[in-house]
Symmetry: C2
Subunit: 714 residues, 2 copies
């Protein structure tokens, strides 16, 4: 019987019985600490210490092997030296242990024999239908503390995963101090079998968990991630801190975990597609978690600020603008209402300044008016307070929590700036469901997180998007690519790229290979004059230098002559022994009949985890210096994605038509992007693809992918 992921992961969370393999009476031994932690954490299930040399450990009957245990074992915790692990895992398999945590280090992360051991263990897991967490991890804290960390945090609603055991220790320590509770805390280690995606799938349906959070350094399987996480993130927020952002960081990540870290831009794109909220810092991770647990998700994207002081109001406005958070513009009606309850010196526009002498009632009056507004006018408020002479922070806090009860769907975030004078008030707010921060910038940051999650909930699930598929003769493309491989080449010749683009419906100058002068004349007539002719040889890269190019050929006669000239030039002036495949006859782009010509660049490269990535932007010879390019993953990529991507470039405005110029063939550009995406998804052997330039003309004149380069896997 095959279990679902949730079923197979379940024993990690609610094991009825746990065997500690390597349990020990010796203080300081991992096997001792783990047993002690289980005990201390109040784990209620059966505990079986396994140790060949002991009969009793810490009051529990010990067994020589899991095979000797009388009952079932839901979870095995392995803390014996790595060289003994493989036979023990096999015994666990035979015993029918459902899940294993391997705390032991000395596997993939050390390479060599460690790698061999890890692979073997993984095979055994599959063979015996066991799920394995680790190796090289700290363990996990679920129904009990099944970890090597003696810290047991409060019970709460954050499901936390950490790819770094040491990070887990630090975070637990910090969280305990700050009274942050967890539904579970899991150290992922080398992720030989169960990985963050499996746990996210479980946590998504776990009722105790309201927010899923993780510190990760890599993702193994992009497809699985998309499939699971894009659904999980609809159910509850998934907040990931992914380190190894920078080039240097990625190097450190790779030496640390032995995982092949993907490029960071791909992670940004993938997280966005999967509905993940990316934390930028460790503080972010916790602040987001704490806020999501208590605050409602805003149902709109415009927010009000209410303040009893101008300065903090400006600081808050700055932070909102920087975060691109919508600053509400009030309706005349709202402004009138505010005017009717607030003193004349107040500011009735956003930020609403209710002035330094504001009593609690003034906060209440202003907020009551703002929270009555429609969600589209005001979806929530940031409430600022500085403790001035007449200010009563505690009473203001009570008014605010009462308003939170009255308007439970409106998002309220407070920043009471101060210490002694506002600490009590801050407690009242937090307990009353209103997250509170010392400074306005932090309040804005978490509000932005909440707003992003609203966008995520409103976006379609990426895996269920219907993607348009163009009819293509893929067999013919396969033949072309086979021929390239048969030649021992990795870069396609231009008539090959041209044919593939024709097959995929991407317009490019007509181009055919002529092998005789008569061919050349006939092909030129088919294509239509004028044409360009160029030598075709894998060895000749600089075609101009050996007289291998003739431009502006206007008749069949000229084409014949050009063929003979080019072939003769190539033979005499080209590299000795070059394989001359013939002469390419190519349509010539007539620039004079175009009102508008812009050069674009398109490209594809492949991210190891996330697959092909499409690039678009300003092309031409300076493209690498102008750097006006944007990226998106080709995963479930449609015309809307392409349009959104194009619109991030500077050249997009120019294509729309500026300075009285006509609109360019933007539909054509979008078409190229989605067709390219299908091409590179259809043929994973294409590892790189460049079009530069692609000439884009005014709408009715279309575009032409003038210069195309395709590279396939060796």
């Amino acid at each position: 019987m095959t279990l679902s992921t949730v079923q197979s992961i379940q024993p990690f969370f609610h094991p009825k019985s746990v065997a500690v393999i390597g349990a020990s009476n010796k203080l300081g031994k991992i096997g001792h600490t783990v047993l002690l932690n289980m005990e201390k954490s109040g784990y209620k299930g059966k505990i079986y210490p396994i140790n060949p040399k002991e009969s009793e450990i810490y009051g529990f009957t010990a067994f020589k092997s899991v095979l000797d245990v009388p009952g079932d074992i839901d979870l095995g915790v392995i803390c014996i030296p790595s060289r003994f692990c493989v036979p023990v895992v096999e015994e666990c398999g035979k015993k029918g242990v459902k899940s294993l945590v391997i705390i032991t280090a000395g596997f993939k992360e050390i390479g060599g024999e460690g790698m061999v051991r890890e692979n073997r263990i993984n095979e055994l897991a599959k063979q015996y239908n066991m799920r394995i967490l680790g190796p090289n991890c700290l363990g996990l804290i679920t129904d009990g503390n099944f970890s090597f960390s003696s810290l047991s945090p409060d019970k709460g609603h954050i499901g936390m995963l950490s790819q770094s055991g040491a990070m887990m220790t630090g975070l637990l320590d910090w969280a305990i101090e700050n009274q942050i509770g967890f539904s579970s805390f899991i150290s992922l280690g080398n992720k030989c079998d169960a990985d963050e995606v499996d746990f996210i799938e479980y946590l998504a349906q776990d009722e105790q968990t309201k927010v899923i959070a993780a510190y990760i350094e890599s993702v193994q399987d992009g497809d699985k991630f998309f499939k699971v996480v894009s659904e999980a993130s609809k159910k509850k927020p998934v907040i990931l801190l992914k380190s190894g952002r920078s080039a240097a960081g990625a190097k450190a990540a790779s030496s640390h975990t032995g995982a092949l870290a993907g490029s960071d831009i791909a992670f940004d794109l993938a997280f966005k597609k999967a509905g993940v909220i990316r934390a930028e810092t460790i503080s972010d991770l916790f602040n987001y978690c704490m806020t999501f647990i208590i605050a409602p998700i805003p149902k709109g994207d415009k927010f009000a600020i209410v303040t009893n002081a101008g300065g903090p109001g400006i600081v808050c406005t700055d932070a909102m603008e920087a975060a691109k958070l919508g600053i509400a513009r009030f309706s005349e009606d709202t402004i009138d209402k505010l005017r009717s309850v607030l003193p004349a010196e107040s500011n009735f526009y956003n930020p609403v300044d209710i002035i330094g002498d504001a009593p609690p009632e003034r906060y209440e009056d202003a907020l009551d008016i703002l929270l009555q507004c429609s969600d589209s006018e005001v979806a929530g408020c940031i409430i600022l307070l500085t403790p001035q002479a007449q200010t009563k922070p505690l009473e203001v806090a009570q008014k605010i929590t009462a308003l939170h009860q009255k308007y439970p769907t409106k998002t309220l975030i407070a920043s009471f700036i101060g210490g002694v004078s506002v600490n009590e008030a801050a407690k009242v707010l937090t307990q009353g469901g209103v997250p509170t921060y010392a400074f306005p910038e932090d309040a804005v940051r978490v509000l932005n997180g909440l707003k992003i999650y609203n966008d995520i909930q409103n976006a379609p699930i990426i895996t269920s998007k219907k993607i348009e598929h163009f009819e293509v003769d893929k067999e013919r493309v396969k033949e072309i690519l086979s021929q390239v491989r048969a030649d021992g080449r990795v870069v396609l010749l231009s008539y090959e790229t041209s044919e593939i683009f024709d097959l995929y419906g991407i317009k490019n100058p007509k181009s055919r290979l002529a092998q005789t002068a008569r061919d050349a004349a006939q092909l030129a007539e088919e294509i239509g004059f004028p044409v360009v002719m160029k030598i075709v040889s894998p060895q000749i890269i600089h075609k101009w230098d050996c007289g291998g190019v003739v431009l502006n050929i206007k008749s069949a006669e000229e084409a014949k002559k050009a063929f003979i000239t080019i072939m003769s030039n190539a033979r005499t002036k080209g590299p000795a022994g070059a394989d001359l495949r013939g002469v390419e006859v190519q349509e010539m782009i007539i620039k004079e009949d175009k009102k508008k010509i812009n050069e674009l660049i398109f490209g594809v490269n492949r991210d190891p985890q996330w697959g092909p990535m499409i690039m678009v932007g300003s092309g031409g010879i300076y493209a690498n210096y102008v750097k006006d390019v944007k990226f998106d993953l080709a995963y479930q990529y449609d015309r809307n994605d392409a349009m959104a991507q194009l619109q991030q470039t500077n050249i997009s405005k120019i294509l729309e038509g500026v300075r009285g110029e006509p609109r360019s063939d933007i539909e054509g550009v979008i078409d190229i992007m989605v067709r390219l995406s299908q091409l590179v998804n259809d043929f994973p052997e294409i590892i790189e693809l460049d079009i530069n330039p692609c000439l884009v003309f005014e709408s009715e004149k279309g575009y032409s992918a003038v210069d195309i380069k395709i590279t396939i896997k060796h």
Copy 2:
């Protein structure tokens, strides 16, 4: 006798006697609170309550007027209604009061009569040689608490200024809770006389102050700011949080303080020039302050990370890369030394991972080796710790503080991630001179602040920079501009701009105004054929449309004919009654003899506080969409500034020569920028200037400012 700023500001800090004008026996009155605060704060000088109706207040003999006070008065604190302020300020002047704090509101910020009152007070201050702080402020805390805020913070070494009184209250409250001490805390209010710059000048020479920090919303006088702050920032760090960054924020700032807020990019540039460290958030402001007070400024720009866990090491590396902080590359010698003391599984490269079981001695060994390195190899270390099983945070902290003693010039910042397990250690570190943060990102942020201050210390003082001045016939420029004004125009005609550019030595197509056909022929011959001829008329903007342009004129005869044609076209096809000034004869740029042509844009606009701002970047018809432009203030602007500015643009690389192209006339571009800067500094009436395009050719061919537009003040 005229006092220096420091002498005149001194009474605010160390008054021997203070009069509280408006002192009151009534609880809740500002005049009561201020007197109480002075008393409670232990102020040792003489206290004179002033109140026409009382003979004794709070145990002190009261006087009806300052004029009745027997002794001198160093500081007067005014807390009476605004309508009574003017006569009272005059009395203070007559009495010879040295400095005044006006807490009272109801001045510039309310406009109208408030504005009148504020101006009158300012006049009195000048007349009687009194310095005034405020009005509309909270007061100040120096030798005593001369403020309306009952919070007195610990004595310390931060000199803090705040343009927002409410912000001051909040920050004081927070600082007291967090045991942050201040040498002084000053609420600036409306800054009618003494402003942040005066106080910065004082604090720069104040021995109690190690760091100057401020929250400001505006700067009144850019020149004064540069003069004072650029010297102060050499003596001690000046950290400013300037709000009103965003468009919306600036609007809020302006409605709040009535100050004309400058555009934010100008503030960024000005702060950089003056050596100010700009805090991005309130947390930043405090974190920088706390770090500067205890940590040495790094003497190099490369830093090491030492960690007992991989994950935090990666997070730290990410943050360093994001901040563009130099990550040290160790010499072979250093790596060998590390190898000799650390376990084989360690990472000997940066970040140095001394592994989870690291005892305190291992931290010591690794750090001792790194801190022995030259400042250029390792100027400081970020030390990361997670509390794992064998970790002894307290002992590690002790080792680190001992190393700080041994290597006092090396910058050490710690991040001990955790709560209960590391709190004691964190205290030991902070007390031992090593700033400590819960998370690595914060450690990196403050290290970056310290590194920026090292750069500031090494940079020349902007006010003492020698700026090259070109000999220019300014009288002639004045004549041209007078003529423009005499015409009632604000935009110069092209032969006028051309002459001004010639006078300033900026190459542009030769251009002269012909008023007869014979003139035209002669001027064309002087300029050299071919030439372009264009109608000149303030009323004709679209010259082509009325047949007002003839290109490619190759002889004197053609020039004569062109003159007649153009004048006749303008008369018949141009707007009726247009003032026809004649025909411009302009040199034609011959593109064929250039190997390389790039279009650049140059521009100038004026910031109200900071003066002219120079722009440079990619030009051409799409310049507004390509958005490849960078700015710098023209204040003390030299060739190095111009080069640094140019190098921030994308087009700069292209000018250097890419893809085998020759180098462009970069020296010419730099020349344009410094000459433009002199022009707009010489003539403040020039409020806008644009060159687009300026054609830049390969080095030996120079450049040509083809299209110039100059706008002067109306």
